[in-house]
């Protein structure tokens, strides 16, 4: 085991090359709906149980299923209202179980990226070959169904190995959502040396973390989004920032939550200088215009420290 993942160099907030988003935007805003399938009775990973209760864990399973039966369309209508295209973190088993939802995604010209096969299949304990096979399988399922190349990865249930990001870069991926170290994209170091980036995917504003882990009230979540936006918008005058809203239809899609979220989006989208982007577009723009500067700056800072 390592004491440092070794995935990125130190790049302090006050010594960065300026990031310029398209059309002079201050903030790149991207919304990442997780479209997930949780199995009722999966094989039990030796390091993590899928459900707290004995199978069938009715409340655990049905809570997630609510997103698929009820929540996604509700959430899509809200995003449609603001012209937001989602970047979908996809349990690729959904392409088989519930393709009707994926068709609604593709009609809207949203991005699909990989979130593994099922959110009840964890990376823990997989050999490197097994993980490589699972990553390639999920990417293939996305391209077979949608014709899209899978550019991004969020490991299933945020379960990782030491090789996860190396393997995804080698499989042809461009960006990861698995790192929470920054409010801007950053270069990611992988063993293949490929040009590969982290796109900020805020865990602190992830609806599941907000509602379930931190037990935040629905209206307060809306206020948190507005406050985060205000600060990133102000700082974005100097250099472009990123606001990511990771969502789950089984959380934000509830009737006591969605209106407060909608008001927050209304606030965000009422500003000029907001780039409503997808994960892929942010990664691509950064790789094309800012990646090399950032790598050079990190190297200079490391040389100074040495």
């Amino acid at each position: 085991m390592k004491s440092d993942p070794g995935l990125y160099g130190y790049l302090p907030w006050d010594r960065r090359p300026e990031i310029r988003w398209p059309d002079g935007a201050r903030v790149a805003v991207w919304v990442a709906p997780n479209i997930e399938f949780y199995e009722l009775d999966p094989p039990v990973n030796p390091q993590r149980k899928p459900w707290p209760r004995p199978v069938p864990d009715v409340t655990g399973y049905a809570t997630r299923d609510y997103g698929n039966r009820v929540g996604h369309l509700r959430m899509m209508r809200v995003l449609d209202q603001f012209g937001i295209r989602g970047s979908v973190s996809l349990s690729t088993a959904m392409l088989t179980h519930h393709p009707e939802i994926i068709d609604l995604v593709l009609e809207r010209d949203w991005e699909l990226f990989s979130h593994g096969i099922y959110n009840t299949r964890y990376t823990y304990g997989l050999s490197e070959d097994q993980e490589r096979e699972m990553i390639a399988d999920a990417m293939q399922r996305i391209s077979d169904y949608s014709g899209q190349h899978c550019d991004g990865y969020l490991a299933p249930a945020l379960s990782h190995s030491e090789h996860t990001i190396d393997l995804f870069a080698e499989a042809g991926g461009t960006y990861t959502c698995d790192l929470f170290h920054d409010d801007q994209p950053t270069p990611v170091i992988t063993r293949s040396g490929k040009r590969f980036v982290s796109v900020p995917y805020s865990l602190e504003l992830n609806d599941t973390i907000v509602y379930v882990v931190n037990k935040i009230e629905p209206r307060r979540y809306g206020e948190m989004i507005c406050r985060a936006f205000d600060r990133l918008y102000a700082e974005g005058e100097r250099s472009g920032t990123v606001l990511c809203l990771p969502l789950h239809a089984y959380q934000v899609g509830h009737p006591h939550r969605l209106a407060a979220f909608q008001r927050a989006l209304d606030y965000v989208c009422s500003h000029h200088g907001v780039w409503l982007a997808t994960g892929r577009e942010i990664a691509r723009h950064y790789l094309d215009h800012h990646y090399d500067d950032a790598v050079a700056t990190i190297r200079r800072i490391e040389e100074e420290a040495a």
Partner: protein, 312 residues
């Protein structure tokens, strides 16, 4: 290090669900539901009337609200019993004051211990649901079939005697089910259960003993969940229920009938500092009276069932 190949095999990867209990169906792809009297929103208020034993055995798993301290955990035992002595009467008064109808999901052991209370509830003319034998009787796979069947039949027997009408609906303690619970419920003559919280409308639920209906009783809008688990204030609790009512009503006007299913616990919301916030919710609902069909759950299960959700 590697895992058994079964971890990369996906045996239930197929169109629809990964089990056969109910059909895959998106709410908005169904024909819109019309409730009686053309009300856009159906309202189901359910009150859980519960007994938490002082000496829980916690077979299967420990349901929320059970004893947590070393025996004898008098503080949790008596705090739960508060609901049956005091809290329930505040709720009854609030329902009467705002002209609202509720159902009562009652543990069999409450009926056995406090027949007075069940008779008092029966006088309101409300529907009763069986809520398992007591809150230490979580139904879980692996438990003895005869015990599980006895919990169901004993509950129906004692509650049925006092209710004055046959019991048609079931809410498991903590919405628990074993692999065989649905079969046992159907075998016992029940028509519907409320445990699966995956929809905003009822749907058909398959068992080996004939179909049940599942009528989802929201967990996320429950007092115990919002106040007890999430530790939100009683004011926040009321705000969330009011936001949910307004949201569902607006959606119902555009997309067909919706259901607001509110589950409450006398030992939670019946406390003197909280009951006023429940009354604030009731006042809001009374203000929507012309647009709300406040009915019994069996009536709602009948009126809201869409044919496309028929089990696979």
């Amino acid at each position: 290090m590697s895992l058994d190949p079964k971890f990369l095999a996906y045996e239930n990867l197929r169109h629809g669900m990964d089990h056969d209990r109910y059909a895959w169906s998106m709410l908005e792809r169904r024909e819109p539901i019309a409730w009686p009297r053309d009300a856009p929103l159906a309202l189901w208020i359910n009150v859980c009337v519960e007994h938490f034993p002082l000496n829980p055995q916690s077979q299967g798993f420990k349901a929320p609200g059970n004893m947590t301290m070393p025996y004898p955990d008098l503080r949790h035992y008596s705090l739960r019993d508060y609901g049956n002595r005091v809290g329930i009467f505040r709720i009854l008064q609030a329902l009467k004051r705002y002209g609202l109808k509720a159902s009562f999901a009652v543990n069999g052991e409450v009926a056995e211990r406090y027949p007075y209370l069940v008779q008092r509830l029966a006088e309101t003319g409300s529907e009763f649901l069986a809520h398992g034998w007591n809150m230490d009787c979580a139904h879980a796979s692996g438990m003895d079939e005869a015990t599980e069947r006895r919990w169901i039949t004993d509950t129906l027997a004692v509650l049925g005697r006092l209710a004055g009408a046959p019991i048609r609906g079931w809410l498991g303690p903590a919405r628990s089910q074993s692999q065989r619970t649905p079969e046992l419920l159907a075998e016992a003559g029940l028509a519907w259960c409320a445990d699966w919280i995956n929809d905003d409308l009822p749907y058909a639920f398959r068992t080996g003993q004939g179909d049940l209906v599942n009528l989802p009783l929201s967990l996320e809008l429950e007092d115990r969940f919002i106040i007890g688990d999430n530790l939100h204030s009683e004011v926040e609790y009321a705000d969330q229920l009011i936001d949910a009512a307004d949201f569902l009503l607006a959606e119902a006007h555009q997309r067909g009938g919706r259901l607001l299913a509110l589950n409450i616990h006398p030992w939670v919301i019946g406390q003197p500092h909280r009951i006023g916030q429940l009354e604030r919710v009731f006042e809001h609902l009374r203000g929507l009276a012309g647009q709300i069909w406040n009915a019994s759950p069996s009536e709602i299960a009948r009126a809201g069932l869409s044919p496309v959700t028929a089990a696979p």
